[in-house]
Protein backbone atom coordinates (compact mmCIF):
# COMPACT_ATOMS: atom_id res chain seq x y z
CA UNK A 1 0.00 0.00 0.00
CA UNK A 2 1.16 3.45 -0.89
CA UNK A 3 1.26 6.43 1.48
CA UNK A 4 -1.08 9.41 1.72
CA UNK A 5 0.97 12.44 0.78
CA UNK A 6 0.11 16.15 0.66
CA UNK A 7 2.00 18.08 -2.02
CA UNK A 8 1.87 21.77 -1.18
CA UNK A 9 2.95 25.10 -2.67
CA UNK A 10 3.59 27.48 0.22
CA UNK A 11 3.69 31.25 -0.19
CA UNK A 12 3.29 33.43 -3.26
CA UNK A 13 5.41 31.23 -5.52
CA UNK A 14 3.61 30.64 -8.83
CA UNK A 15 5.87 27.91 -10.23
CA UNK A 16 3.69 24.82 -10.20
CA UNK A 17 5.16 22.66 -12.92
CA UNK A 18 7.51 20.77 -10.59
CA UNK A 19 4.78 20.15 -7.98
CA UNK A 20 2.45 18.77 -10.63
CA UNK A 21 5.16 16.54 -12.09
CA UNK A 22 5.87 15.16 -8.63
CA UNK A 23 2.18 14.70 -7.80
CA UNK A 24 1.68 12.61 -10.95
CA UNK A 25 4.84 10.59 -10.43
CA UNK A 26 3.83 9.71 -6.88
CA UNK A 27 0.37 8.68 -8.02
CA UNK A 28 1.95 6.44 -10.65
CA UNK A 29 4.10 4.92 -7.93
CA UNK A 30 0.96 3.93 -6.02
CA UNK A 31 0.60 6.81 -3.54
CA UNK A 32 -2.54 8.81 -2.79
CA UNK A 33 -1.64 12.43 -3.40
CA UNK A 34 -3.56 15.47 -2.24
CA UNK A 35 -2.37 18.55 -4.12
CA UNK A 36 -3.16 21.86 -2.40
CA UNK A 37 -2.86 24.13 -5.41
CA UNK A 38 -0.96 27.40 -5.37
CA UNK A 39 -0.45 29.98 -2.64
CA UNK A 40 -1.21 28.28 0.63
CA UNK A 41 0.05 29.70 3.91
CA UNK A 42 1.69 27.50 6.56
CA UNK A 43 -1.48 27.24 8.69
CA UNK A 44 -3.54 26.11 5.68
CA UNK A 45 -0.96 23.50 4.74
CA UNK A 46 -0.84 22.12 8.27
CA UNK A 47 -4.65 22.02 8.40
CA UNK A 48 -4.68 20.04 5.15
CA UNK A 49 -2.20 17.50 6.50
CA UNK A 50 -4.29 17.17 9.65
CA UNK A 51 -7.71 16.73 8.02
CA UNK A 52 -6.33 14.37 5.38
CA UNK A 53 -4.36 12.36 7.96
CA UNK A 54 -1.38 12.36 5.59
CA UNK A 55 1.78 10.43 6.43
CA UNK A 56 3.94 12.64 4.25
CA UNK A 57 4.16 16.32 3.30
CA UNK A 58 6.11 17.42 0.21
CA UNK A 59 6.77 21.14 -0.16
CA UNK A 60 7.67 22.71 -3.48
CA UNK A 61 9.32 26.14 -3.41
CA UNK A 62 11.15 27.95 -6.22
CA UNK A 63 10.70 31.55 -5.16
CA UNK A 64 13.37 31.82 -2.49
CA UNK A 65 11.06 31.92 0.53
CA UNK A 66 11.91 28.37 1.66
CA UNK A 67 14.13 29.61 4.50
CA UNK A 68 11.16 31.28 6.20
CA UNK A 69 8.19 29.15 5.15
CA UNK A 70 9.57 25.64 5.63
CA UNK A 71 10.70 26.16 9.27
CA UNK A 72 7.33 27.77 10.01
CA UNK A 73 5.47 24.75 8.67
CA UNK A 74 7.70 22.33 10.59
CA UNK A 75 7.16 24.22 13.85
CA UNK A 76 3.40 24.36 13.35
CA UNK A 77 3.25 20.62 12.68
CA UNK A 78 5.11 19.99 15.93
CA UNK A 79 2.96 22.36 17.94
CA UNK A 80 -0.16 20.58 16.63
CA UNK A 81 1.31 17.27 17.82
CA UNK A 82 1.94 15.91 14.34
CA UNK A 83 5.51 14.85 15.09
CA UNK A 84 5.35 11.73 12.98
CA UNK A 85 4.64 13.46 9.65
CA UNK A 86 7.50 12.95 7.15
CA UNK A 87 8.39 16.31 5.59
CA UNK A 88 10.47 16.70 2.42
CA UNK A 89 10.94 19.42 -0.17
CA UNK A 90 12.05 20.28 -3.68
CA UNK A 91 12.62 23.22 -5.99
CA UNK A 92 15.27 25.93 -5.85
CA UNK A 93 16.88 25.48 -2.43
CA UNK A 94 20.59 26.45 -2.35
CA UNK A 95 23.09 24.15 -0.61
CA UNK A 96 23.93 26.73 2.04
CA UNK A 97 20.35 26.71 3.34
CA UNK A 98 19.94 22.97 3.56
CA UNK A 99 21.53 22.15 6.92
CA UNK A 100 19.28 24.62 8.67
CA UNK A 101 16.23 22.98 7.05
CA UNK A 102 17.40 19.49 8.02
CA UNK A 103 17.76 20.74 11.59
CA UNK A 104 14.05 21.64 11.43
CA UNK A 105 13.14 18.03 10.76
CA UNK A 106 13.09 18.01 6.95
CA UNK A 107 14.17 14.56 5.74
CA UNK A 108 15.03 15.21 2.08
CA UNK A 109 15.59 18.02 -0.43
CA UNK A 110 15.47 17.54 -4.20
CA UNK A 111 16.78 20.15 -6.62
CA UNK A 112 16.12 20.78 -10.31
CA UNK A 113 16.85 17.85 -12.57
CA UNK A 114 16.07 15.21 -9.93
CA UNK A 115 14.77 12.01 -11.50
CA UNK A 116 11.37 11.12 -10.08
CA UNK A 117 12.74 7.62 -9.52
CA UNK A 118 15.03 8.99 -6.84
CA UNK A 119 12.10 10.57 -5.02
CA UNK A 120 10.24 7.28 -5.14
CA UNK A 121 13.28 5.49 -3.77
CA UNK A 122 13.40 7.99 -0.94
CA UNK A 123 9.75 7.32 -0.08
CA UNK A 124 10.37 3.60 -0.09
CA UNK A 125 13.38 3.97 2.16
CA UNK A 126 11.70 6.36 4.56
CA UNK A 127 8.60 4.24 4.94
CA UNK A 128 10.59 1.10 5.71
CA UNK A 129 12.55 3.12 8.28
CA UNK A 130 9.28 4.27 9.78
CA UNK A 131 8.03 0.70 9.95
CA UNK A 132 11.22 -0.26 11.79
CA UNK A 133 10.49 2.43 14.33
CA UNK A 134 13.36 4.69 13.28
CA UNK A 135 12.84 8.43 13.78
CA UNK A 136 11.87 10.03 10.45
CA UNK A 137 9.05 12.42 11.44
CA UNK A 138 9.32 16.19 11.63
CA UNK A 139 9.23 16.19 15.42
CA UNK A 140 11.25 13.04 15.99
CA UNK A 141 14.90 12.69 16.82
CA UNK A 142 17.15 14.28 14.20
CA UNK A 143 20.01 12.49 12.52
CA UNK A 144 19.01 10.65 9.40
CA UNK A 145 18.10 12.44 6.22
CA UNK A 146 18.25 11.32 2.59
CA UNK A 147 21.85 11.43 1.23
Amino acid sequence: MGMRIVIAKPGLDGHDRGAKVIARALRDAGHEVIYTGLRRNPAEIVRTVLDEDATGLGLSTLSGAHDVLIPKICKLLRSEGMNDVIVFAGGIIPDYDRDELFSQGLRAIFGPGTQTKEIINFLQDVSSRKENGEPVGVGEELGWHWQ
Partner: protein, 293 residues
Protein backbone atom coordinates in the same frame (compact mmCIF):
# COMPACT_ATOMS: atom_id res chain seq x y z
CA UNK B 1 -3.27 20.29 22.04
CA UNK B 2 -4.81 17.18 23.55
CA UNK B 3 -3.64 13.77 22.43
CA UNK B 4 -5.74 11.83 19.97
CA UNK B 5 -6.33 9.04 22.48
CA UNK B 6 -4.76 5.65 22.99
CA UNK B 7 -7.55 3.23 22.17
CA UNK B 8 -10.49 3.38 19.80
CA UNK B 9 -13.05 4.25 22.52
CA UNK B 10 -10.88 7.11 23.71
CA UNK B 11 -10.23 8.35 20.17
CA UNK B 12 -13.97 8.30 19.50
CA UNK B 13 -14.82 10.23 22.62
CA UNK B 14 -12.10 12.78 21.83
CA UNK B 15 -13.41 13.12 18.28
CA UNK B 16 -16.94 13.68 19.54
CA UNK B 17 -15.48 16.22 21.96
CA UNK B 18 -14.21 18.18 18.96
CA UNK B 19 -10.63 16.94 18.47
CA UNK B 20 -9.97 17.10 14.72
CA UNK B 21 -6.95 14.81 14.78
CA UNK B 22 -8.97 12.12 16.48
CA UNK B 23 -11.71 12.46 13.87
CA UNK B 24 -9.15 12.38 11.09
CA UNK B 25 -7.49 9.24 12.50
CA UNK B 26 -10.86 7.53 12.87
CA UNK B 27 -11.67 8.14 9.21
CA UNK B 28 -8.39 6.45 8.34
CA UNK B 29 -9.27 3.52 10.59
CA UNK B 30 -12.67 3.16 8.91
CA UNK B 31 -11.08 3.42 5.46
CA UNK B 32 -8.66 0.65 6.35
CA UNK B 33 -11.65 -1.66 6.75
CA UNK B 34 -11.93 -1.85 10.54
CA UNK B 35 -15.37 -1.32 11.92
CA UNK B 36 -15.83 1.09 14.78
CA UNK B 37 -18.98 1.67 16.79
CA UNK B 38 -20.96 4.56 15.31
CA UNK B 39 -24.65 5.30 15.23
CA UNK B 40 -26.47 7.24 12.61
CA UNK B 41 -28.55 9.81 14.43
CA UNK B 42 -30.19 11.22 11.36
CA UNK B 43 -27.22 12.71 9.55
CA UNK B 44 -28.01 15.46 7.03
CA UNK B 45 -26.46 14.33 3.75
CA UNK B 46 -26.21 15.72 0.23
CA UNK B 47 -24.66 13.84 -2.69
CA UNK B 48 -23.15 15.98 -5.43
CA UNK B 49 -22.72 14.26 -8.74
CA UNK B 50 -22.30 15.13 -12.40
CA UNK B 51 -19.81 14.61 -15.21
CA UNK B 52 -16.07 15.25 -14.73
CA UNK B 53 -15.02 18.88 -14.82
CA UNK B 54 -18.45 20.54 -14.60
CA UNK B 55 -17.38 22.33 -11.44
CA UNK B 56 -18.72 20.15 -8.62
CA UNK B 57 -15.83 20.91 -6.27
CA UNK B 58 -15.73 24.62 -7.03
CA UNK B 59 -19.48 24.83 -6.46
CA UNK B 60 -19.25 22.92 -3.17
CA UNK B 61 -16.54 25.39 -2.13
CA UNK B 62 -19.00 28.23 -2.65
CA UNK B 63 -21.91 26.43 -1.00
CA UNK B 64 -19.76 25.82 2.07
CA UNK B 65 -19.41 29.59 2.51
CA UNK B 66 -23.18 29.98 2.32
CA UNK B 67 -23.83 27.22 4.86
CA UNK B 68 -21.26 28.61 7.28
CA UNK B 69 -22.98 31.97 7.15
CA UNK B 70 -26.17 30.14 8.13
CA UNK B 71 -24.43 28.73 11.20
CA UNK B 72 -23.84 25.21 9.89
CA UNK B 73 -20.73 23.07 10.30
CA UNK B 74 -19.89 21.53 6.93
CA UNK B 75 -18.01 18.30 6.29
CA UNK B 76 -17.15 17.13 2.77
CA UNK B 77 -16.13 13.65 1.66
CA UNK B 78 -14.64 14.16 -1.78
CA UNK B 79 -14.09 11.04 -3.85
CA UNK B 80 -11.67 10.85 -6.77
CA UNK B 81 -10.66 7.79 -8.79
CA UNK B 82 -7.71 5.53 -7.99
CA UNK B 83 -5.51 4.49 -10.87
CA UNK B 84 -6.39 0.89 -11.65
CA UNK B 85 -2.80 0.34 -12.71
CA UNK B 86 -0.75 1.76 -9.85
CA UNK B 87 -3.39 1.92 -7.12
CA UNK B 88 -2.33 5.53 -6.54
CA UNK B 89 -4.59 8.54 -6.87
CA UNK B 90 -4.42 12.26 -7.47
CA UNK B 91 -7.02 13.77 -5.18
CA UNK B 92 -7.73 17.21 -6.62
CA UNK B 93 -11.16 18.18 -5.30
CA UNK B 94 -9.90 19.86 -2.15
CA UNK B 95 -7.78 22.30 -4.17
CA UNK B 96 -11.00 23.84 -5.51
CA UNK B 97 -12.39 24.46 -2.03
CA UNK B 98 -9.82 26.92 -0.69
CA UNK B 99 -12.00 27.79 2.30
CA UNK B 100 -11.57 24.25 3.57
CA UNK B 101 -8.00 24.90 4.67
CA UNK B 102 -8.65 27.89 6.86
CA UNK B 103 -11.93 27.54 8.70
CA UNK B 104 -12.78 25.57 11.82
CA UNK B 105 -16.36 25.15 10.63
CA UNK B 106 -15.27 23.12 7.60
CA UNK B 107 -13.77 19.64 7.40
CA UNK B 108 -12.78 18.19 4.04
CA UNK B 109 -11.51 14.67 3.55
CA UNK B 110 -10.32 13.44 0.15
CA UNK B 111 -10.98 9.78 -0.56
CA UNK B 112 -9.71 7.54 -3.36
CA UNK B 113 -12.10 4.99 -4.83
CA UNK B 114 -9.41 2.31 -4.25
CA UNK B 115 -10.96 0.59 -7.25
CA UNK B 116 -14.15 -0.07 -5.40
CA UNK B 117 -16.85 -1.12 -7.83
CA UNK B 118 -19.44 1.61 -8.27
CA UNK B 119 -16.89 4.30 -7.51
CA UNK B 120 -18.02 4.75 -3.92
CA UNK B 121 -16.83 2.65 -1.02
CA UNK B 122 -19.26 1.19 1.47
CA UNK B 123 -17.13 2.81 4.19
CA UNK B 124 -18.93 6.05 3.37
CA UNK B 125 -21.82 4.97 5.60
CA UNK B 126 -19.83 4.70 8.86
CA UNK B 127 -17.85 7.81 7.92
CA UNK B 128 -21.07 9.78 7.56
CA UNK B 129 -22.37 8.50 10.89
CA UNK B 130 -19.13 9.46 12.60
CA UNK B 131 -19.11 12.96 11.12
CA UNK B 132 -22.69 13.46 12.20
CA UNK B 133 -21.91 12.26 15.72
CA UNK B 134 -19.02 14.72 15.84
CA UNK B 135 -21.41 17.60 15.24
CA UNK B 136 -21.07 18.20 11.51
CA UNK B 137 -24.52 19.41 10.50
CA UNK B 138 -24.14 19.40 6.71
CA UNK B 139 -22.37 16.40 5.19
CA UNK B 140 -21.60 16.59 1.48
CA UNK B 141 -20.36 13.71 -0.65
CA UNK B 142 -18.75 14.52 -4.01
CA UNK B 143 -18.71 11.53 -6.36
CA UNK B 144 -16.28 10.85 -9.18
CA UNK B 145 -19.23 11.72 -11.34
CA UNK B 146 -19.31 9.02 -13.89
CA UNK B 147 -20.96 5.71 -14.50
CA UNK B 148 -22.37 3.76 -11.64
CA UNK B 149 -21.31 6.14 -8.88
CA UNK B 150 -23.99 8.53 -10.07
CA UNK B 151 -26.69 6.12 -8.99
CA UNK B 152 -24.91 4.53 -6.09
CA UNK B 153 -24.78 7.89 -4.34
CA UNK B 154 -28.41 7.37 -3.29
CA UNK B 155 -27.17 4.59 -1.03
CA UNK B 156 -25.41 7.16 1.11
CA UNK B 157 -27.03 10.54 0.56
CA UNK B 158 -30.61 11.55 1.37
CA UNK B 159 -30.56 14.35 -1.19
CA UNK B 160 -28.89 14.45 -4.59
CA UNK B 161 -27.68 17.50 -6.48
CA UNK B 162 -26.83 16.86 -10.12
CA UNK B 163 -24.42 19.39 -11.60
CA UNK B 164 -24.30 19.89 -15.34
CA UNK B 165 -22.38 22.27 -17.57
CA UNK B 166 -23.37 24.58 -20.41
CA UNK B 167 -21.74 22.51 -23.12
CA UNK B 168 -23.83 19.54 -22.25
CA UNK B 169 -27.17 20.95 -23.37
CA UNK B 170 -27.81 18.48 -26.15
CA UNK B 171 -26.11 15.59 -24.36
CA UNK B 172 -28.62 15.69 -21.55
CA UNK B 173 -31.51 13.51 -22.39
CA UNK B 174 -34.01 13.77 -19.64
CA UNK B 175 -35.89 10.87 -21.12
CA UNK B 176 -32.90 8.67 -20.56
CA UNK B 177 -33.20 6.75 -17.33
CA UNK B 178 -30.50 7.23 -14.76
CA UNK B 179 -29.39 9.78 -12.25
CA UNK B 180 -31.63 12.43 -13.71
CA UNK B 181 -34.62 10.53 -12.32
CA UNK B 182 -33.02 10.35 -8.91
CA UNK B 183 -31.76 13.92 -8.66
CA UNK B 184 -33.68 16.20 -6.30
CA UNK B 185 -32.32 19.31 -7.92
CA UNK B 186 -30.18 20.14 -10.93
CA UNK B 187 -27.66 22.96 -11.17
CA UNK B 188 -26.36 24.16 -14.50
CA UNK B 189 -22.98 25.57 -13.56
CA UNK B 190 -20.76 28.07 -15.40
CA UNK B 191 -23.60 30.52 -16.03
CA UNK B 192 -20.85 33.04 -16.76
CA UNK B 193 -20.39 31.22 -20.07
CA UNK B 194 -22.71 32.10 -22.96
CA UNK B 195 -24.50 28.80 -23.59
CA UNK B 196 -25.56 28.11 -19.99
CA UNK B 197 -29.00 29.71 -20.24
CA UNK B 198 -29.70 27.73 -23.37
CA UNK B 199 -28.69 24.50 -21.65
CA UNK B 200 -30.96 25.30 -18.71
CA UNK B 201 -33.91 26.07 -20.99
CA UNK B 202 -33.57 22.94 -23.06
CA UNK B 203 -33.18 20.81 -19.96
CA UNK B 204 -36.20 22.41 -18.32
CA UNK B 205 -38.17 21.77 -21.49
CA UNK B 206 -37.38 18.12 -21.79
CA UNK B 207 -37.91 17.58 -18.06
CA UNK B 208 -41.37 19.10 -18.22
CA UNK B 209 -42.29 16.51 -20.83
CA UNK B 210 -41.27 13.44 -18.91
CA UNK B 211 -41.47 13.61 -15.13
CA UNK B 212 -44.51 13.71 -12.88
CA UNK B 213 -42.85 15.85 -10.26
CA UNK B 214 -41.04 18.98 -11.34
CA UNK B 215 -37.32 18.98 -10.67
CA UNK B 216 -35.94 22.43 -10.07
CA UNK B 217 -33.21 23.57 -12.44
CA UNK B 218 -30.93 26.33 -11.11
CA UNK B 219 -28.42 28.39 -13.05
CA UNK B 220 -25.28 29.04 -11.05
CA UNK B 221 -21.74 30.27 -11.50
CA UNK B 222 -19.33 28.77 -9.02
CA UNK B 223 -16.71 31.24 -10.25
CA UNK B 224 -18.78 34.37 -9.67
CA UNK B 225 -20.92 32.98 -6.85
CA UNK B 226 -24.10 33.84 -8.78
CA UNK B 227 -27.13 31.77 -7.79
CA UNK B 228 -25.36 29.94 -4.97
CA UNK B 229 -27.50 31.42 -2.17
CA UNK B 230 -30.65 30.46 -4.05
CA UNK B 231 -29.31 26.98 -4.75
CA UNK B 232 -28.53 26.37 -1.08
CA UNK B 233 -31.97 27.69 -0.13
CA UNK B 234 -33.61 25.24 -2.57
CA UNK B 235 -31.51 22.37 -1.28
CA UNK B 236 -32.63 23.20 2.26
CA UNK B 237 -36.25 22.90 1.10
CA UNK B 238 -35.86 19.41 -0.35
CA UNK B 239 -38.07 16.90 1.37
CA UNK B 240 -36.32 13.57 1.50
CA UNK B 241 -38.17 11.04 -0.50
CA UNK B 242 -39.12 7.87 1.35
CA UNK B 243 -40.37 6.37 -1.93
CA UNK B 244 -36.73 6.09 -2.78
CA UNK B 245 -36.03 3.62 0.02
CA UNK B 246 -36.19 0.58 -2.24
CA UNK B 247 -33.58 2.01 -4.59
CA UNK B 248 -31.55 3.21 -1.63
CA UNK B 249 -31.42 -0.18 0.03
CA UNK B 250 -30.81 -1.91 -3.27
CA UNK B 251 -27.74 0.27 -3.84
CA UNK B 252 -26.64 -0.20 -0.23
CA UNK B 253 -26.85 -3.94 -0.54
CA UNK B 254 -24.95 -3.93 -3.83
CA UNK B 255 -22.31 -1.71 -2.30
CA UNK B 256 -21.88 -3.91 0.76
CA UNK B 257 -21.76 -6.98 -1.47
CA UNK B 258 -19.09 -5.42 -3.66
CA UNK B 259 -17.02 -4.56 -0.60
CA UNK B 260 -17.24 -8.07 0.66
CA UNK B 261 -16.27 -9.44 -2.73
CA UNK B 262 -13.18 -7.30 -3.24
CA UNK B 263 -11.97 -7.86 0.31
CA UNK B 264 -12.46 -11.62 -0.02
CA UNK B 265 -9.18 -13.44 0.82
CA UNK B 266 -9.31 -15.38 -2.44
CA UNK B 267 -10.29 -12.43 -4.65
CA UNK B 268 -6.85 -11.82 -6.19
CA UNK B 269 -6.08 -15.49 -6.42
CA UNK B 270 -9.28 -16.11 -8.37
CA UNK B 271 -8.52 -13.21 -10.70
CA UNK B 272 -5.09 -14.66 -11.39
CA UNK B 273 -6.58 -18.04 -12.15
CA UNK B 274 -9.13 -16.42 -14.45
CA UNK B 275 -6.53 -14.49 -16.39
CA UNK B 276 -4.34 -17.58 -16.62
CA UNK B 277 -7.35 -19.36 -18.10
CA UNK B 278 -7.27 -22.16 -15.57
CA UNK B 279 -10.85 -21.61 -14.38
CA UNK B 280 -14.07 -20.29 -15.89
CA UNK B 281 -16.10 -17.38 -14.60
CA UNK B 282 -18.70 -19.75 -13.18
CA UNK B 283 -16.03 -21.72 -11.38
CA UNK B 284 -14.60 -18.48 -10.03
CA UNK B 285 -17.98 -17.48 -8.58
CA UNK B 286 -18.41 -20.95 -7.18
CA UNK B 287 -15.01 -20.83 -5.51
CA UNK B 288 -15.67 -17.47 -3.88
CA UNK B 289 -19.15 -18.28 -2.64
CA UNK B 290 -18.03 -21.63 -1.25
CA UNK B 291 -15.25 -19.99 0.71
CA UNK B 292 -17.75 -17.48 2.10
CA UNK B 293 -20.05 -20.10 3.56
Amino acid sequence: MGGIGSNVEEIISNAIGGNRRSLSKLLTIIESGKSIPTNNLGAWTLGVTGPPGVGKSTLIGKMIIEWISRGEKVAVLAVDPSSPKSGGALLGDRMRMAISDANDLVFVRSLATRNHPGGLTSFLAPMISLLSQCGWTRIIIETVGSGQSEIRIVAFADRVLLVEGPDRGDIIQAEKAGIIELADIIAINKSDLPSAQLAADSLQNSLSLSTETAIEVCLVSAHLGDGVTELVESIEQIETDSNRDTIRFRERLLSAWDSRLISHPQFNEVIRALSAGTITLDEALEQISQATN
